[in-house]
């Protein structure tokens, strides 16, 4: 997030797009509710009439995958109506004149023809967002899990740059991170393009810095993403170490994924349960769980917070850091003689400019949000105050393009996937927590009553849903939450493996899968069949 969580109570106008915050980030949503109670206005763009949509002053029911068109249409209106912040644009941005030219054709009528939202509502949203003093954007995977995820984010940044909504309280462009430490995973250098602290690997100075620290020269070329690695399994990739990810259930195109992992010569999985992924491994190493380990999580507002051990692990389970270090030592690597997580974190801080100002002891307070460039620096709750890190804010000349697959006669419905409040990801944890499992014991397919009638489905009955990659059987829930022509399911339940269907395309830059759009066909069936997973 560009701005701290506390800022969520401060905007005059809130624009939520592609975020089901009341279910996926419930506690953050309470802050938005406080802002609404104070009188803030909220615009929500989402294909589904989610709870956030019910709370909105203006709800834009966009067709799945049409976000860029909506955002370009809004930018057009902001410029046309004279709502652009010309002083901010002159002092802090570049590319405005080209953007104005680029937006010429992106009229609200053009956007309406793609998104299905009436032009008048697109105008209303743009004017509401553009005329407020403090407007904040919040988004989640509904923006990024598309083949155009990068363009979607750039289009959001255009709106904030046009209206000067950066670097002030209650503004910003704020992605809500989905996992407890997905931010920390990137910060720590678990990326193919960056060392720790987002230092690019293709910069020779960084290569030299880490060669000195690690005693080993690392390629100047970027590595490949996990998506590419899975494609190369059995061909160029033959060994894989997976820590704490149920790849088989969480990733798109499940059959391809299982085939890929099975074609490895050596697969080692570190996890707390024998997940569907661990079942494919040659070696499974039992890890300490969240309540059994010391270390740090970094939250969505870049806050570095201490995780503390409260109970012992079952049997011989050990912390992940210890396990990885033991494998490294047995392979003869040097620099892995850690006896606790403390020196590991201190090494990470020393090598990362954004963490240079802290260490294990200072991080105890949980008060620091990175960047913390030097000792004594208070941390940076709000990014881009006064100036952008890399100079001027650049406008992006984005354009709309269709999803990788679009609906046709054979696959006439849009499937979009997501989360539900009561489940977390692939349910390895929430599926094993009694009370919560009772709240949501099985997956259902959200179908609009009109579609149910059209395809002969009935509430509580079974449907077989197929895409170009596979089929799953799922119980039907008729609801107007999903619009006619679009169905919804979560990917949480291994017995309804929705990711058998997905995997039509990937963003070319980030390799993020288009998990939010998948054309499908549905038909009623008498009862659920046992579909083989492989």
């Amino acid at each position: 997030m560009s701005n701290p969580l506390a800022d969520m109570e401060k905007p005059d106008v809130i624009f939520c797009i592609g975020t089901n915050m009341t279910e996926a980030h419930p506690v953050a949503a309470t802050r938005l509710k406080k802002a609404l109670a104070r009188g803030a206005k909220m615009i929500v763009a989402d294909p589904r009439r989610i709870r956030l949509a019910e709370m909105a002053d203006l709800y834009l029911p966009i067709r799945v995958g049409s976000d860029t068109a909506l955002l370009l249409g809004m930018a057009h209106v902001i410029v046309r109506e004279g709502l652009a912040d010309l002083e901010f644009i002159a002092t802090r941005t570049e590319g405005y004149d080209e953007l104005v030219d680029h937006l010429q054709e992106k009229t609200p009528e053009w956007a309406a023809s793609i998104t299905g939202v009436p032009a008048a509502q697109i105008e209303e949203a743009a004017i509401l967002y553009g005329s407020s003093d403090r407007a904040a954007i919040y988004y989640t995977l509904g923006i990024t899990e598309h083949i155009c995820g990068v363009e979607n984010v750039q289009s959001l940044c255009n709106l904030a740059l046009l209206t000067g909504n950066f670097g002030r309280e209650g503004t910003g462009v704020n992605p809500m991170r989905g996992q407890n430490n997905i931010q920390g995973a990137g910060d720590s250098g678990a990326l193919p393009n960056n060392y720790a602290g987002f230092q690019p690997v293709d910069d020779a100075a960084n290569q030299a810095k880490f060669e000195k620290a690690y005693g080993r020269r690392v390629d100047l070329e970027k590595g490949i993403t996990k998506v590419t690695a899975l494609e190369q399994c059995g061909d160029r990739i033959f060994g894989m170490l997976i820590d704490g990810e149920n790849t088989v259930v969480s990733d798109p195109d499940q059959e391809h994924c299982i085939h890929a992992l099975k074609s490895l010569e050596h697969l080692v999985v570190i996890d707390i349960f024998l997940t569907e992924t661990a079942e494919l491994a040659d070696v499974v190493l039992p890890a300490a769980s969240w309540a059994e380990t010391d270390g740090h999580f970094v939250n969505t507002e870049r806050r570095i917070q201490r995780v503390r051990k409260a109970v012992d692990s079952p049997g011989e389970a050990r912390p992940d850091w210890w396990i990885i270090g033991q494998i490294a030592r047995r392979m003869g690597m040097s620099g892995f003689d850690y006896d606790s997580p403390v020196p590991i974190f201190n090494e990470l801080c020393a090598l990362s400019p954004i963490y240079n100002g802290i260490d294990w002891e200072l991080a105890e307070s949980g008060q620091y949000q990175w960047p913390i460039p030097y000792r004594g620096h208070p941390g940076t709750p709000r990014l881009h105050e006064g100036a952008f890190i890399n100079g001027r804010g650049k406008f992006s000349f984005t354009d709309y393009r269709d999803p990788a697959e679009t609906i046709d006669e054979d696959y006439p419905l849009w499937l979009t996937t997501g989360r539900r409040l009561e489940s977390y990801h692939t349910r390895t944890q929430t599926g094993r927590s009694e009370g919560i499992n009772d709240l949501l014991p099985e997956e259902t397919l959200e179908v609009h009553p009109g579609d149910a009638a059209r395809y002969g489905l009935r509430e509580g009955g079974w449907a077989r849903m197929s895409s170009r990659r596979g089929a799953v059987d799922v119980r039907v829930e008729t609801t107007r939450r999903s619009p006619q022509g679009t169905v919804f399911a979560s990917f949480s339940f291994a017995d309804v493996p929705i990711n058998v269907l997905t995997g039509s395309g990937y963003d070319p830059i980030t390799h993020t899968a288009e998990l939010k759009v998948c054309p499908v066909h549905v038909e009623p069936i008498a009862e659920k069949a046992q579909l083989a997973a492989d």
């Binding site: 193919p192 690392v218 409260a310």
Partner: protein, 141 residues
């Protein structure tokens, strides 16, 4: 059971579910979690917790938890092994792949669920062990 307050301990930590990072106190007795209390001084949550953070902690003590290393035997089945054997097997397998297919044949997938220390170790393992940037985390899917 005559539990007294002295048997009960609380440990301040951070919720392990989504990225909001709510502070909470784990209430434990006899090495088991018996409750989760929201932290009113938690900077991200100011005393709030959602249904998962508040109640979905049973999994920590679930009998399905892996408590011993497992290795695949000659018949393709996973069997219990000692740490010595499992770690040797894990290390030897990577050394074999390295020798046979080169250093660009091994890939590391770090977790968005584990602490940063585990992520740092994963990337260091790949970079020091193989001299490549063949490392990613689970943020793309």
């Amino acid at each position: 059971m005559n539990a007294t307050t002295s048997d009960i301990q609380t440990t301040r930590t951070i919720c392990g579910y989504c990225g909001v990072g709510c502070s909470l106190d784990l209430v434990t007795r006899d090495n088991r979690i018996i409750a989760v209390h929201p932290a009113f001084d938690g900077p991200a949550n100011e005393g709030a917790l959602c249904v998962k953070g508040q109640f979905a902690y049973d999994y920590v003590h679930h009998p399905d938890r892996l408590s011993h290393p497992l290795v695949r035997d000659g018949e393709g089945r996973l069997r219990q092994a000692s740490w010595e054997e499992a770690l040797d097997r894990a290390a030897q397998g990577f050394m074999d792949v390295l020798q046979k297919h080169g250093r660009h044949a091994v890939y590391g997938v770090a977790s968005g669920r584990t602490p940063s220390e585990a992520n740092y170790m994963m990337q260091k393992f790949i970079r020091v062990g193989f001299g490549t940037n063949y490392i990613d985390n689970c943020s793309r899917a």
